[in-house]
Subunit: 343 residues, 2 copies
């Protein structure tokens, strides 16, 4: 006879029923460790994936996302959701991964270069990493491209102690500058940050401007947002709540901009400029983005999920330079000299 | 009264008159060191640039190349010739650079990693580097993309001794496999190599297959050709003559393929596949190509000349896979398992 009071197990099943598909980790395992941060974070990234995909699909006149579940031979796996060549979106990908195993030498080296030191056992470092990552390229050049990523990392050292940290961020890449949009986007992120620490937004806004820098061009890839890494204090729970606020700020920060501009008229010249900016997006992703390079150079990683961040189409012209005082020159100026959009 | 027998100075001026523009180095300086390898090599790369540009322009119904001369603050400069959005060529660039100064730490590190050791004076290493480099992307998907590069390097050590070496190569990137074209291209390069050393072609053909490898895709970017670096024996003059043969083999190796296919009919599906392959070309250039990365990360380098190798347009689709036994699958098979085209 079924109980009339749903138990914890049913709560979990109910929550998972709204996801794009079942979580990467088996429900039985998630049930066995309900208070563990790994469980909380996996549910947050699954929830974020499903809410973002649903919001985008609804906007795109009911387009459906392809949902691909993949396994990683070395441990764990992921779920990639991609909408390609839709009505509004050229390409929109939202990917979740939950992987574990032994840290590669390359990965350890990269972490060491950021000042992390670990006590290893026979040189081996068991780790667990999970995150949600998304890049959305709309068709209309007046709707900006956007990216977000939120991730959690755990390392088990030789003596059994665990090191952990969170990383993430969200940044906007418009083809043309719209100041109202820029303020709305930054204000929404600032509000999410301010709930947790008034120092977060200014610090992570600057970090974002510094990180998304196309050095050889002397320009940023977009108008920024927030970026942070290696966040490990004051406590797991505090930072989790901060990351949760950021993840939940994505929809209100971006969807209104899509609704506002997705029917804006545009000229072939504006589409052309968008294609050139897509080229810069590719340059940043392949030459500088830590996550992309790390993924591509890690044996056994799923290339298609990493490169779903690439635009559907891009363009490179020799010596292209916008004319003075044009709207193209206006955005370039902001990309070279980032502004404070909110105070 | 002018002499009736042209002197050496006139020979040089006459030779230079066929170039796209005057050499990077002043004629007076070239005249002052006629036997020097730096002079011989600069004239060879200038001659190669002009012959290739003229052959391409003539094919492209008299299209003209933009000729940009640029100077490098730290010493030397270059000449970039680019034909964009022509009748036959989407983008064709032929660039010459002749630079000198003090080797950057980054450059020295890269050379050291290839086994080169230098005796420095206060950590400084005067160097001179010159080369010609070209990438040609045709519009018709039945005409292959091609790349070549020939370069010469000199380092002056603390005790005054000079180290020198040559590098270079030429490789073909077809959208669809045409076996006859592959054989013609490789045979032409092999003939150029065989004039100098029967061991060159097999060795440099393998080096090329190994170098132009898109590791994360498990495929080569094209059907190869030849590639070599750090060539410093038996003698400067011997290798120069070999490099000269290779450079002069470019036109007979490629132009017949353009003529043969530039009017081939093609479908939108074939153009689409070409665009996806252009995406792979971008991946190789930005993620793996030593020259591109070295250039982009070197302060003061001319970004537009380095990135003229990028296609005008490229495309990335999530999870694209050609159907079995298709012509798209046929070329992928060869890119995964390189073949010997000539014996």
């Amino acid at each position: 006879v079924a109980s009339s009071v749903p138990d914890k197990a049913d709560d979990l099943a109910l929550r998972c029923s709204s996801f794009m598909t079942q979580p990467v980790t088996a429900l039985s395992e998630l049930r066995a460790r309900p208070g563990d941060m790994k469980t909380q974070m996996e549910l947050l990234i699954m929830e974020t994936q499903s809410q973002v995909c649903q919001a985008l699909a609804q906007l795109d006149r009911g387009a459906t996302f392809a949902v691909d579940r993949w396994e990683r031979k070395e441990g764990g796996g992921g779920i990639s959701c991609v909408l390609q060549d839709g009505h509004i979106f050229e390409k929109a990908g939202v990917s979740v991964s939950v992987v574990h195993g032994v840290l590669s030498e390359e990965a350890e080296k990269q972490m060491r270069s950021r000042g992390k030191k670990f006590k290893t056992k026979n040189g081996q470092l068991p780790f667990c990493a999970m995150g949600v990552s998304s890049v959305i390229h709309p068709k209309n050049p007046h709707v900006p491209t956007i990216h977000f990523n939120y991730r959690y990392f755990e390392i088990e050292e030789a003596d059994g102690t665990r090191q952990w940290w969170f990383g993430g961020g969200c940044d906007l890449t418009p083809t043309y500058l719209n100041k109202e949009d820029a303020v709305h986007f930054h204000q929404t992120l600032k509000d999410a940050c301010d709930q947790h620490d008034p120092g977060f937004y200014p610090k992570f806004k600057k970090w974002c401007d510094d990180y998304f820098f196309i050095k050889h061009r002397g320009e940023r890839r977009g108008i920024g947002g927030i970026f942070f890494d290696d966040l490990d204090s004051p406590s797991k729970e505090d930072i989790f709540r901060f990351v949760q606020s950021c993840a939940r700020a994505f929809i209100p920060s971006y969807i209104p901009l899509v609704k506002k501009h997705c029917n804006d008229p545009f000229t072939p010249q504006e589409k052309h400029w968008q294609q050139l900016r897509r080229g810069r997006y590719v340059e940043f992703n392949l030459l500088y983005d830590r996550g992309t390079k790390f993924g591509l150079f890690t044996p056994g990683s799923r290339i298609e999920s990493i490169l779903m961040s690439m635009p559907l189409t891009a363009r490179w012209e020799y010596m292209h330079a916008p004319s003075e005082n044009s709207r193209e020159a206006e955005i370039l100026e902001v990309l070279s000299h980032p502004k404070d959009w909110v105070h």
